[in-house]
Symmetry: C2
């Protein structure tokens, strides 16, 4: 019998209990042992609930019980999760977590601690919800050099952008609906400003490179400035706007970023809609591999956590090597990344064409309704740095969005 303790009886925690209760027979068969939930830690009481009798309020009860072999941290946030996880690992208990903030901030230290104690620190559920992506990068794509990772890693923003495009809603209505449906938090900042996606791409980049990518060094731009007019331009170009997180491992350096991008209809990420996530991995030999699935939700995330519990139970006295050292991976800035840009300018195209041509050479113009008093254009591919310099010489710029592909014409 393998005794486990679940820290936190919120959405994911109650999902973990539900999945284990419901599939206990097959989970035990796959673990090769009986998995038993011995404790659930939460500050609240749950009278009448299935966990009522195993609920504890004091973490030390779990820490001091040598029967508990696996601690499941699904509380979220850095503290007290970090302290509890660290104490658990130091006490020789494996930890499975869905907490991307914790993993992005303290991954290498916690992995090293698990290695030292010949136990495991597993975090499949921290990126991509139900989509198996951590384990494939860690165990299946090990023979190749990963050149690029690119994906839609945040379901909340993808839902908002999808609804703006499909229903014609403005940003505020899409956000408030996402909040009503439970897809967005009351305080949505971490999702809409891109911070959540940044932590996830930091985790994936670290696993891909084997070195630590500090999320605070990643260029991050959210979707809160994307307007219904931007979406109209994108639709006119037969494109969609997606919040993409990416990591590029090139000979002259590595860079990572999170920002809204314009994606053409022929791009595989174009059709990833709603709360779905998709992650592309490009290897030097394997070419493109893509993973797709539900990026969030109580039961999908819980299934990813339970799969880690099964793996931890199968490896009770055996560390599963995770390729993520605490050596920092130096990231270059994004100044030299080359791409096309879409620019919106206030005013009449005829009056500004010469200025645009002087700065950007030949561009493709995109116009919506003349009554809007603005126009748009798409630049030829150029570096971020050069783009910024030239853009500063154009009067009346309303905004700019990057293109996923380099292009000379409309999508």
């Amino acid at each position: 019998m393998v005794n486990i303790a679940v820290l936190g009886y919120g959405t994911v925690g109650s999902g973990v209990v539900e999945v284990i209760d419901e599939n206990s027979e097959s989970i035990d068969r796959k673990s090769g042992d009986e998995i038993r939930i011995k404790y659930v830690l939460d500050l609240r009481d749950f009278p009448g609930d299935r966990v009522e009798k195993i609920l504890v309020h004091d973490f030390d009860v779990i820490l001091n019980d040598p029967e508990v072999k696996i601690v499941v941290e699904v509380m979220g946030g850095i503290e007290p999760a970090y302290t509890f996880v660290k104490k658990s690992l130091m006490a020789g208990k494996s930890v499975c977590t869905s907490n991307k903030e914790l993993v992005a901030a303290h991954g290498p230290e916690l992995i090293a601690l698990a290695r030292k104690n010949n136990i495991n620190f597993l975090f499949e559920a921290s990126v991509g919800g139900a989509i198996p992506v951590i384990r494939p990068i860690n165990s299946s794509l090990t023979a190749d050099r990963i050149l690029e990772i690119k994906g839609i890693l945040n379901g909340t923003t993808n839902y908002i952008l999808t609804q703006m495009a499909v229903e014609g809603w403005d940003f505020d209505k899409a956000l408030s609906t996402a909040q009503e449906l439970g897809y967005a938090e009351r305080n949505p900042e971490a999702d809409i400003e891109g911070y959540d996606a940044t932590r996830k791409i930091a985790i994936l980049s670290s696993l891909a490179s084997g070195r630590n990518v500090d999320f605070s060094n990643i260029y991050t731009e959210g979707i809160s400035k994307i307007t219904a007019t931007d979406i109209s331009y994108a639709k006119k170009m037969n494109c969609a706007i997606k919040l993409l997180a990416s990591f590029t491992n090139e000979d002259d350096g590595n860079y990572a970023m999170v920002a809204p991008f314009i994606v053409s209809a022929s791009h595989p990420l174009y059709s990833v809609s709603g709360v779905y996530n998709a992650i592309f991995v490009k290897g030097s030999h394997i070419g493109d591999v893509m993973f797709y699935g539900s990026g969030a939700g109580k039961l999908p995330t819980a299934c990813a956590v339970v799969a880690d519990i099964v793996d931890a139970a199968k490896h009770i006295d055996k560390h599963i090597y995770t390729f993520w050292s605490d050596e920092q991976l130096p990231l270059t800035g994004i100044e030299n990344a080359t791409r096309s840009f879409f620019v919106r300018v206030s005013g009449k195209r005829a009056q500004l064409e010469d200025t645009v041509k002087k700065e950007f050479g030949e561009v493709s113009y995109i116009e919506l309704d003349e009554a809007l008093g603005e126009f748009g254009f798409i630049t030829a591919p150029l570096t971020e740095k050069s783009f910024d310099e030239h853009l500063s010489n154009i009067p009346g710029v309303l905004g700019r969005i990057r293109f996923e592909e380099k292009k000379n014409a409309g999508c």
Copy 2:
């Protein structure tokens, strides 16, 4: 140091040597040990080749060398692969293989032998080329009940069907081009008659259910009867024809099948073209998860094999539990599967409409050029058995193709 031996220096075998040579530093780091190719077995000589000095012609040299801890079987076919693999496992050597024929025919026996000897029998490369799918099903989707697997598992047939649709080629031209490009074998039967896909879906179904699915019980139909006219009808319906392999795990039974299906443009498998593979997995809690990537090719397949070598090296004295017993999973026939069908009939629609209505009720008609002297129709959803009964009463039937979805009208 972990010494390995590679059995077979053909396409995949030479790819394995190339990938290990090229990425040895990172592979060693990820294995936590130095991987050294001690022997390559082949009947041929390769004078001047990198493997010249480690080439052996006699398998017993490898078998009797206690330093060899991992045997890499990339010869293909049942014999002598089966004998070599069995002897290796019995001698306490882990085996990594790309051989789907071997895995489909003897999987449970070889897994049990590995378990008994506390070593590993790994076969990620046997399905989906570079796409990690075996390991995710075996390690990441373990918490959920898998309800359905559906995918494009054979790159050769997908290339042929893609070229017929995109270039307007007939079947023979597409096949001969595939042969010239090395995508199809001189004897293409295993691919085009669906036998290769059948072995792959048998492997995935076995892993999903934990019991053995005998590939010889799987309903199999290839693509050799698909004509350019069929493709024209599909295009008129805004659809594509794809060879799909599927496994359905329903309360009233399990069934598996391989056959050409008509897939609508909104279906995620519609856009999987050329030699790419894609595999959908539906779980009761996780919903749909999809894996996509290059389904074949020397280096992608070699990378999948090398990832297994790394995993075997990380688990030298520890069996990785694989959920595939030798207990047979009873498969029901496909008679009760319900779907819509597309039917082509020789003759004039006006003269046969009454007969069609009598047998199938309301249908949607699809017509190409009247000069062809034929027409097509799509039935409402009905069981395979009922469809066959009614179809036998229609005179002049030229062919029928299943619809991936149930429909009452055109795609």
